[in-house]
Amino acid sequence: MGTVEYIQHHLTNNSVGEGFWTFHLDTIAVSFMLGALMIFVSMRLVKQMEAGTPGGFQNFVESILDFVSVNVRDAFPGHNPLIAPLALTIFIWVWLMNFMDLIPVDLFPYLFQLISGDSHAYLKIVPTTDLNTTLAMSLTVFCLIVFYSIKIKGVWGYTKMFLFHPFGKFFIPVNIIMTFIEEVSKPLSLALRLFGNLFAGELVFLLIALIGGTLAVGAAALFWAPLQVLLDLAWLIFHLLVITLQAFIFMVLTIVYLGMAHEEAH
Protein backbone atom coordinates (compact mmCIF):
# COMPACT_ATOMS: atom_id res chain seq x y z
CA MET A 1 0.00 0.00 0.00
CA GLY A 2 1.46 3.32 -1.07
CA THR A 3 1.91 6.38 1.05
CA VAL A 4 -0.90 8.32 -0.58
CA GLU A 5 -3.36 5.48 -0.31
CA TYR A 6 -2.42 4.92 3.31
CA ILE A 7 -3.14 8.52 4.22
CA GLN A 8 -6.27 8.73 2.12
CA HIS A 9 -7.53 5.52 3.60
CA HIS A 10 -7.07 6.88 7.08
CA LEU A 11 -8.78 10.13 6.27
CA THR A 12 -11.90 8.62 4.75
CA ASN A 13 -14.98 8.22 6.90
CA ASN A 14 -16.91 5.03 7.15
CA SER A 15 -20.18 6.21 5.67
CA VAL A 16 -23.53 5.11 4.36
CA GLY A 17 -25.91 6.95 2.06
CA GLU A 18 -25.59 9.03 -1.07
CA GLY A 19 -24.95 12.70 -1.76
CA PHE A 20 -26.16 14.96 1.00
CA TRP A 21 -27.82 12.09 2.82
CA THR A 22 -24.50 10.53 3.63
CA PHE A 23 -23.92 9.60 7.23
CA HIS A 24 -20.42 9.29 8.64
CA LEU A 25 -21.01 6.32 10.90
CA ASP A 26 -17.61 6.50 12.61
CA THR A 27 -17.91 10.19 13.42
CA ILE A 28 -21.43 9.75 14.75
CA ALA A 29 -20.63 6.61 16.72
CA VAL A 30 -17.50 7.97 18.37
CA SER A 31 -18.96 11.35 19.24
CA PHE A 32 -22.10 9.70 20.60
CA MET A 33 -20.07 7.29 22.64
CA LEU A 34 -18.00 10.10 24.09
CA GLY A 35 -21.15 12.07 24.87
CA ALA A 36 -22.66 9.01 26.52
CA LEU A 37 -19.44 8.56 28.49
CA MET A 38 -19.73 12.16 29.72
CA ILE A 39 -23.32 11.61 30.80
CA PHE A 40 -22.58 8.25 32.41
CA VAL A 41 -19.57 9.53 34.35
CA SER A 42 -21.50 12.66 35.39
CA MET A 43 -24.41 10.61 36.66
CA ARG A 44 -22.15 8.34 38.65
CA LEU A 45 -20.28 11.31 40.04
CA VAL A 46 -23.42 13.17 41.02
CA LYS A 47 -24.89 10.09 42.67
CA GLN A 48 -21.96 9.70 45.03
CA MET A 49 -20.82 13.29 45.37
CA GLU A 50 -20.31 14.80 48.77
CA ALA A 51 -20.60 18.40 49.83
CA GLY A 52 -18.20 18.20 52.75
CA THR A 53 -15.26 16.12 51.64
CA PRO A 54 -15.08 15.78 47.86
CA GLY A 55 -12.93 12.92 46.64
CA GLY A 56 -10.22 13.04 44.01
CA PHE A 57 -12.34 12.77 40.90
CA GLN A 58 -14.98 15.13 42.23
CA ASN A 59 -12.26 17.64 42.96
CA PHE A 60 -10.99 17.29 39.43
CA VAL A 61 -14.43 17.85 37.90
CA GLU A 62 -15.12 20.72 40.29
CA SER A 63 -11.90 22.41 39.24
CA ILE A 64 -12.98 22.11 35.58
CA LEU A 65 -16.35 23.58 36.53
CA ASP A 66 -14.64 26.38 38.37
CA PHE A 67 -12.34 27.02 35.43
CA VAL A 68 -15.28 27.22 33.04
CA SER A 69 -17.37 29.44 35.28
CA VAL A 70 -14.42 31.81 35.83
CA ASN A 71 -14.08 32.11 32.06
CA VAL A 72 -17.79 32.71 31.68
CA ARG A 73 -17.74 35.36 34.38
CA ASP A 74 -14.76 37.11 32.79
CA ALA A 75 -15.96 37.10 29.19
CA PHE A 76 -19.73 37.16 29.50
CA PRO A 77 -21.36 40.41 30.59
CA GLY A 78 -24.96 39.46 31.25
CA HIS A 79 -26.59 36.61 33.06
CA ASN A 80 -27.73 33.59 31.13
CA PRO A 81 -27.98 30.15 32.76
CA LEU A 82 -27.43 28.47 29.42
CA ILE A 83 -23.95 29.82 28.81
CA ALA A 84 -22.02 27.96 31.48
CA PRO A 85 -23.38 24.48 30.70
CA LEU A 86 -22.88 25.21 27.02
CA ALA A 87 -19.28 26.21 27.59
CA LEU A 88 -18.67 23.20 29.83
CA THR A 89 -20.17 20.85 27.23
CA ILE A 90 -18.02 22.32 24.50
CA PHE A 91 -14.86 22.14 26.57
CA ILE A 92 -15.24 18.54 27.69
CA TRP A 93 -16.79 17.13 24.55
CA VAL A 94 -14.34 18.79 22.19
CA TRP A 95 -11.45 17.77 24.41
CA LEU A 96 -12.59 14.15 24.48
CA MET A 97 -13.12 14.07 20.72
CA ASN A 98 -9.73 15.68 20.19
CA PHE A 99 -8.21 13.15 22.53
CA MET A 100 -9.10 10.42 20.06
CA ASP A 101 -6.31 11.96 18.00
CA LEU A 102 -3.76 10.75 20.54
CA ILE A 103 -4.72 7.12 20.17
CA PRO A 104 -2.24 5.36 17.86
CA VAL A 105 -3.50 6.01 14.35
CA ASP A 106 -3.60 2.41 13.27
CA LEU A 107 -4.94 0.81 16.43
CA PHE A 108 -8.67 1.25 16.01
CA PRO A 109 -8.78 0.96 12.22
CA TYR A 110 -6.77 -2.28 12.51
CA LEU A 111 -9.03 -3.70 15.24
CA PHE A 112 -12.10 -2.65 13.28
CA GLN A 113 -10.79 -4.34 10.14
CA LEU A 114 -10.16 -7.50 12.13
CA ILE A 115 -13.62 -7.49 13.66
CA SER A 116 -15.52 -6.58 10.52
CA GLY A 117 -13.48 -8.99 8.43
CA ASP A 118 -13.14 -6.33 5.72
CA SER A 119 -9.44 -5.51 5.32
CA HIS A 120 -10.34 -2.27 3.55
CA ALA A 121 -12.95 -1.03 6.01
CA TYR A 122 -12.70 2.70 6.62
CA LEU A 123 -12.57 4.11 10.13
CA LYS A 124 -11.74 7.66 11.21
CA ILE A 125 -12.10 7.87 14.95
CA VAL A 126 -11.44 11.56 15.52
CA PRO A 127 -14.83 13.28 15.16
CA THR A 128 -13.26 16.74 15.18
CA THR A 129 -11.28 15.95 12.02
CA ASP A 130 -14.68 15.73 10.39
CA LEU A 131 -15.87 19.17 9.34
CA ASN A 132 -19.44 18.06 9.99
CA THR A 133 -18.83 17.86 13.71
CA THR A 134 -17.05 21.17 14.11
CA LEU A 135 -19.50 22.94 11.83
CA ALA A 136 -22.43 21.36 13.68
CA MET A 137 -21.23 22.89 16.92
CA SER A 138 -20.36 26.26 15.48
CA LEU A 139 -23.71 26.46 13.63
CA THR A 140 -25.54 25.66 16.85
CA VAL A 141 -23.57 28.44 18.51
CA PHE A 142 -24.39 30.68 15.54
CA CYS A 143 -28.11 29.97 15.95
CA LEU A 144 -27.79 30.93 19.60
CA ILE A 145 -25.94 34.11 18.65
CA VAL A 146 -28.70 35.15 16.24
CA PHE A 147 -31.42 34.15 18.71
CA TYR A 148 -29.96 36.11 21.61
CA SER A 149 -29.01 39.07 19.42
CA ILE A 150 -32.61 39.43 18.35
CA LYS A 151 -33.90 38.70 21.84
CA ILE A 152 -31.68 41.30 23.52
CA LYS A 153 -31.35 43.98 20.86
CA GLY A 154 -34.79 43.44 19.32
CA VAL A 155 -35.45 42.87 15.64
CA TRP A 156 -34.88 46.54 14.86
CA GLY A 157 -31.74 46.69 16.95
CA TYR A 158 -30.34 43.66 15.17
CA THR A 159 -31.22 45.13 11.77
CA LYS A 160 -29.67 48.43 12.81
CA MET A 161 -26.46 46.62 13.59
CA PHE A 162 -26.36 45.45 9.97
CA LEU A 163 -27.28 48.84 8.57
CA PHE A 164 -25.13 51.29 10.53
CA HIS A 165 -22.22 49.23 11.72
CA PRO A 166 -19.29 49.76 11.39
CA PHE A 167 -19.22 52.86 9.11
CA GLY A 168 -22.28 54.86 10.07
CA LYS A 169 -25.41 55.71 8.17
CA PHE A 170 -23.81 56.89 4.91
CA PHE A 171 -22.37 53.53 3.96
CA ILE A 172 -25.37 51.29 4.44
CA PRO A 173 -24.64 48.83 1.56
CA VAL A 174 -21.03 48.49 2.66
CA ASN A 175 -22.16 48.10 6.25
CA ILE A 176 -24.52 45.29 5.38
CA ILE A 177 -21.80 43.37 3.56
CA MET A 178 -19.24 44.00 6.30
CA THR A 179 -21.49 43.00 9.16
CA PHE A 180 -22.71 39.98 7.25
CA ILE A 181 -19.14 38.83 6.71
CA GLU A 182 -18.35 39.53 10.34
CA GLU A 183 -21.27 37.49 11.56
CA VAL A 184 -20.79 34.57 9.19
CA SER A 185 -17.08 34.44 9.84
CA LYS A 186 -17.75 33.70 13.49
CA PRO A 187 -19.10 30.15 13.05
CA LEU A 188 -16.88 29.52 10.05
CA SER A 189 -13.71 30.48 11.86
CA LEU A 190 -14.77 28.46 14.92
CA ALA A 191 -15.41 25.36 12.85
CA LEU A 192 -12.45 25.68 10.51
CA ARG A 193 -9.95 26.45 13.26
CA LEU A 194 -10.78 23.34 15.21
CA PHE A 195 -11.09 21.20 12.11
CA GLY A 196 -7.85 22.49 10.61
CA ASN A 197 -5.79 22.02 13.74
CA LEU A 198 -7.01 18.52 14.39
CA PHE A 199 -6.85 17.50 10.75
CA ALA A 200 -3.27 18.72 10.49
CA GLY A 201 -2.40 17.01 13.75
CA GLU A 202 -3.85 13.76 12.52
CA LEU A 203 -1.94 14.13 9.28
CA VAL A 204 1.34 14.58 11.10
CA PHE A 205 0.63 11.49 13.17
CA LEU A 206 0.00 9.59 9.96
CA LEU A 207 3.24 10.84 8.43
CA ILE A 208 5.17 9.84 11.53
CA ALA A 209 3.50 6.45 11.40
CA LEU A 210 4.69 6.14 7.82
CA ILE A 211 8.32 6.41 8.85
CA GLY A 212 8.32 3.01 10.43
CA GLY A 213 5.70 1.57 8.12
CA THR A 214 7.15 2.20 4.70
CA LEU A 215 10.72 3.38 5.08
CA ALA A 216 11.91 0.76 7.50
CA VAL A 217 13.01 -2.15 5.45
CA GLY A 218 15.62 -4.60 6.68
CA ALA A 219 18.48 -3.13 8.65
CA ALA A 220 17.19 0.42 8.13
CA ALA A 221 14.45 -0.39 10.65
CA LEU A 222 17.08 -0.13 13.36
CA PHE A 223 17.35 3.56 12.56
CA TRP A 224 13.81 4.43 11.49
CA ALA A 225 11.83 2.64 14.14
CA PRO A 226 13.43 4.49 17.11
CA LEU A 227 13.10 7.74 15.21
CA GLN A 228 9.39 7.10 14.72
CA VAL A 229 8.92 6.40 18.40
CA LEU A 230 10.80 9.54 19.34
CA LEU A 231 8.94 11.79 16.90
CA ASP A 232 5.62 10.24 17.82
CA LEU A 233 6.23 10.90 21.50
CA ALA A 234 7.30 14.48 20.85
CA TRP A 235 4.29 15.21 18.65
CA LEU A 236 1.99 13.47 21.14
CA ILE A 237 3.15 15.65 24.00
CA PHE A 238 2.87 18.76 21.88
CA HIS A 239 -0.50 17.69 20.58
CA LEU A 240 -1.80 17.11 24.07
CA LEU A 241 -1.29 20.83 24.52
CA VAL A 242 -2.91 21.59 21.17
CA ILE A 243 -6.10 19.62 21.79
CA THR A 244 -6.58 21.27 25.18
CA LEU A 245 -5.88 24.67 23.70
CA GLN A 246 -8.30 24.11 20.81
CA ALA A 247 -11.05 22.96 23.16
CA PHE A 248 -10.37 26.02 25.31
CA ILE A 249 -10.37 28.40 22.34
CA PHE A 250 -13.63 27.01 21.02
CA MET A 251 -15.17 27.45 24.46
CA VAL A 252 -13.87 30.97 25.08
CA LEU A 253 -14.81 32.24 21.62
CA THR A 254 -18.30 30.81 22.04
CA ILE A 255 -18.61 32.68 25.33
CA VAL A 256 -17.25 35.86 23.79
CA TYR A 257 -19.52 35.71 20.73
CA LEU A 258 -22.57 35.07 22.88
CA GLY A 259 -21.45 37.86 25.18
CA MET A 260 -21.36 40.21 22.18
CA ALA A 261 -24.84 39.05 21.27
CA HIS A 262 -25.99 39.99 24.77
CA GLU A 263 -24.64 43.54 24.59
CA GLU A 264 -27.19 46.26 24.08
CA ALA A 265 -27.21 47.94 20.70
CA HIS A 266 -24.77 50.80 20.41
Binding site: T22, G35, A51, E62, N132, A136
Partner: protein, 156 residues
Protein backbone atom coordinates in the same frame (compact mmCIF):
# COMPACT_ATOMS: atom_id res chain seq x y z
CA UNK B 1 -14.50 18.36 2.47
CA UNK B 2 -17.89 16.79 2.38
CA UNK B 3 -20.65 18.44 4.30
CA UNK B 4 -23.59 16.13 4.58
CA UNK B 5 -26.38 14.92 6.80
CA UNK B 6 -23.86 13.99 9.47
CA UNK B 7 -23.92 17.71 10.24
CA UNK B 8 -27.59 17.55 11.22
CA UNK B 9 -27.06 14.50 13.40
CA UNK B 10 -24.11 16.17 15.11
CA UNK B 11 -26.11 19.35 15.72
CA UNK B 12 -28.89 17.39 17.37
CA UNK B 13 -26.33 15.41 19.35
CA UNK B 14 -24.64 18.63 20.47
CA UNK B 15 -27.90 20.20 21.64
CA UNK B 16 -28.93 17.03 23.44
CA UNK B 17 -25.54 16.84 25.09
CA UNK B 18 -25.80 20.45 26.28
CA UNK B 19 -29.19 19.65 27.77
CA UNK B 20 -27.84 16.50 29.42
CA UNK B 21 -24.73 18.19 30.78
CA UNK B 22 -26.86 20.91 32.27
CA UNK B 23 -29.22 18.34 33.75
CA UNK B 24 -26.84 15.76 35.16
CA UNK B 25 -23.55 17.59 35.71
CA UNK B 26 -23.65 21.35 35.76
CA UNK B 27 -26.91 21.73 37.65
CA UNK B 28 -26.31 19.39 40.59
CA UNK B 29 -22.60 20.00 40.91
CA UNK B 30 -22.74 23.77 40.75
CA UNK B 31 -25.62 23.72 43.23
CA UNK B 32 -23.51 21.60 45.53
CA UNK B 33 -20.56 23.94 45.14
CA UNK B 34 -22.72 26.97 45.81
CA UNK B 35 -24.16 25.34 48.91
CA UNK B 36 -20.69 24.52 50.13
CA UNK B 37 -19.56 28.07 49.50
CA UNK B 38 -22.51 29.37 51.47
CA UNK B 39 -21.81 26.91 54.26
CA UNK B 40 -18.22 28.03 54.47
CA UNK B 41 -19.19 31.68 54.46
CA UNK B 42 -21.78 31.04 57.15
CA UNK B 43 -19.32 29.04 59.19
CA UNK B 44 -16.70 31.76 58.98
CA UNK B 45 -19.12 34.48 59.99
CA UNK B 46 -20.42 32.28 62.82
CA UNK B 47 -16.87 31.75 64.03
CA UNK B 48 -16.26 35.48 63.87
CA UNK B 49 -19.44 36.09 65.82
CA UNK B 50 -18.49 33.46 68.37
CA UNK B 51 -15.11 35.06 68.82
CA UNK B 52 -16.72 38.42 69.34
CA UNK B 53 -19.18 36.97 71.84
CA UNK B 54 -16.38 35.26 73.70
CA UNK B 55 -14.60 38.58 73.97
CA UNK B 56 -17.72 40.22 75.30
CA UNK B 57 -18.27 37.43 77.80
CA UNK B 58 -14.68 37.68 78.96
CA UNK B 59 -15.04 41.39 79.49
CA UNK B 60 -18.26 40.85 81.39
CA UNK B 61 -16.69 38.17 83.54
CA UNK B 62 -13.84 40.51 84.37
CA UNK B 63 -16.27 43.21 85.35
CA UNK B 64 -18.31 40.86 87.51
CA UNK B 65 -15.15 39.66 89.19
CA UNK B 66 -14.05 43.20 89.85
CA UNK B 67 -17.47 44.01 91.26
CA UNK B 68 -17.44 40.96 93.48
CA UNK B 69 -14.00 41.84 94.75
CA UNK B 70 -14.95 45.37 95.67
CA UNK B 71 -18.13 44.11 97.27
CA UNK B 72 -16.18 41.60 99.30
CA UNK B 73 -13.81 44.35 100.37
CA UNK B 74 -16.79 46.42 101.41
CA UNK B 75 -18.33 43.59 103.39
CA UNK B 76 -15.04 42.87 105.04
CA UNK B 77 -14.67 46.50 106.05
CA UNK B 78 -18.18 46.61 107.39
CA UNK B 79 -17.64 43.43 109.36
CA UNK B 80 -14.47 44.79 110.87
CA UNK B 81 -16.21 47.98 111.86
CA UNK B 82 -19.13 46.05 113.28
CA UNK B 83 -16.76 43.81 115.21
CA UNK B 84 -14.94 46.69 116.81
CA UNK B 85 -18.29 48.27 117.58
CA UNK B 86 -19.43 45.11 119.33
CA UNK B 87 -16.22 44.96 121.31
CA UNK B 88 -16.58 48.61 122.27
CA UNK B 89 -20.18 48.00 123.25
CA UNK B 90 -19.24 45.00 125.32
CA UNK B 91 -16.59 47.05 127.10
CA UNK B 92 -19.05 49.79 127.92
CA UNK B 93 -21.63 47.30 129.10
CA UNK B 94 -19.06 45.48 131.20
CA UNK B 95 -17.95 48.71 132.82
CA UNK B 96 -21.54 49.61 133.56
CA UNK B 97 -22.22 46.19 135.00
CA UNK B 98 -19.13 46.38 137.09
CA UNK B 99 -20.20 49.79 138.41
CA UNK B 100 -23.66 48.55 139.19
CA UNK B 101 -22.35 45.47 140.97
CA UNK B 102 -19.95 47.65 142.92
CA UNK B 103 -22.75 50.04 143.85
CA UNK B 104 -25.07 47.27 144.96
CA UNK B 105 -22.25 45.71 146.97
CA UNK B 106 -21.58 49.04 148.58
CA UNK B 107 -25.26 49.48 149.40
CA UNK B 108 -25.43 46.04 150.89
CA UNK B 109 -22.35 46.74 152.93
CA UNK B 110 -23.81 49.97 154.14
CA UNK B 111 -27.08 48.26 154.98
CA UNK B 112 -25.19 45.57 156.79
CA UNK B 113 -23.19 48.19 158.64
CA UNK B 114 -26.26 50.14 159.67
CA UNK B 115 -28.05 46.98 160.72
CA UNK B 116 -25.06 45.95 162.74
CA UNK B 117 -24.93 49.36 164.28
CA UNK B 118 -28.65 49.12 165.09
CA UNK B 119 -28.17 45.72 166.59
CA UNK B 120 -25.18 46.94 168.52
CA UNK B 121 -27.11 49.94 169.72
CA UNK B 122 -30.02 47.76 170.79
CA UNK B 123 -27.58 45.40 172.47
CA UNK B 124 -25.87 48.29 174.26
CA UNK B 125 -29.22 49.76 175.25
CA UNK B 126 -30.43 46.48 176.62
CA UNK B 127 -27.08 46.00 178.39
CA UNK B 128 -27.34 49.50 179.74
CA UNK B 129 -30.93 48.93 180.73
CA UNK B 130 -30.12 45.66 182.34
CA UNK B 131 -27.14 47.30 184.04
CA UNK B 132 -29.22 50.17 185.15
CA UNK B 133 -31.96 47.75 186.13
CA UNK B 134 -29.50 45.87 188.27
CA UNK B 135 -28.30 49.11 189.78
CA UNK B 136 -31.56 50.81 190.14
CA UNK B 137 -33.76 47.72 190.64
CA UNK B 138 -35.80 49.41 193.14
CA UNK B 139 -36.19 52.92 191.95
CA UNK B 140 -36.83 52.40 188.30
CA UNK B 141 -39.96 50.87 186.99
CA UNK B 142 -39.43 49.51 183.52
CA UNK B 143 -42.87 50.39 182.41
CA UNK B 144 -42.87 53.91 183.96
CA UNK B 145 -39.48 54.89 182.59
CA UNK B 146 -39.82 53.24 179.24
CA UNK B 147 -40.03 56.55 177.42
CA UNK B 148 -36.96 57.84 179.05
CA UNK B 149 -35.09 54.59 178.29
CA UNK B 150 -36.19 54.69 174.67
CA UNK B 151 -34.75 58.19 174.30
CA UNK B 152 -31.61 57.00 175.90
CA UNK B 153 -31.30 54.08 173.52
CA UNK B 154 -31.75 56.40 170.55
CA UNK B 155 -29.14 58.79 171.63
CA UNK B 156 -26.53 56.07 171.91
Amino acid sequence: MNINATLLIQMIAFMLLIWFVNKVLWGPLSKLMEERQKKITDGLSAAEKGKHELELAENKAKEVLKDAKSQAQNILGQAEKRGSEIVEDAKVKATEEAGRIKASAQAEIEQEVSRAREDLRKEVASIAVSGAEKILRKEIDATRHNDMLETLVKSI
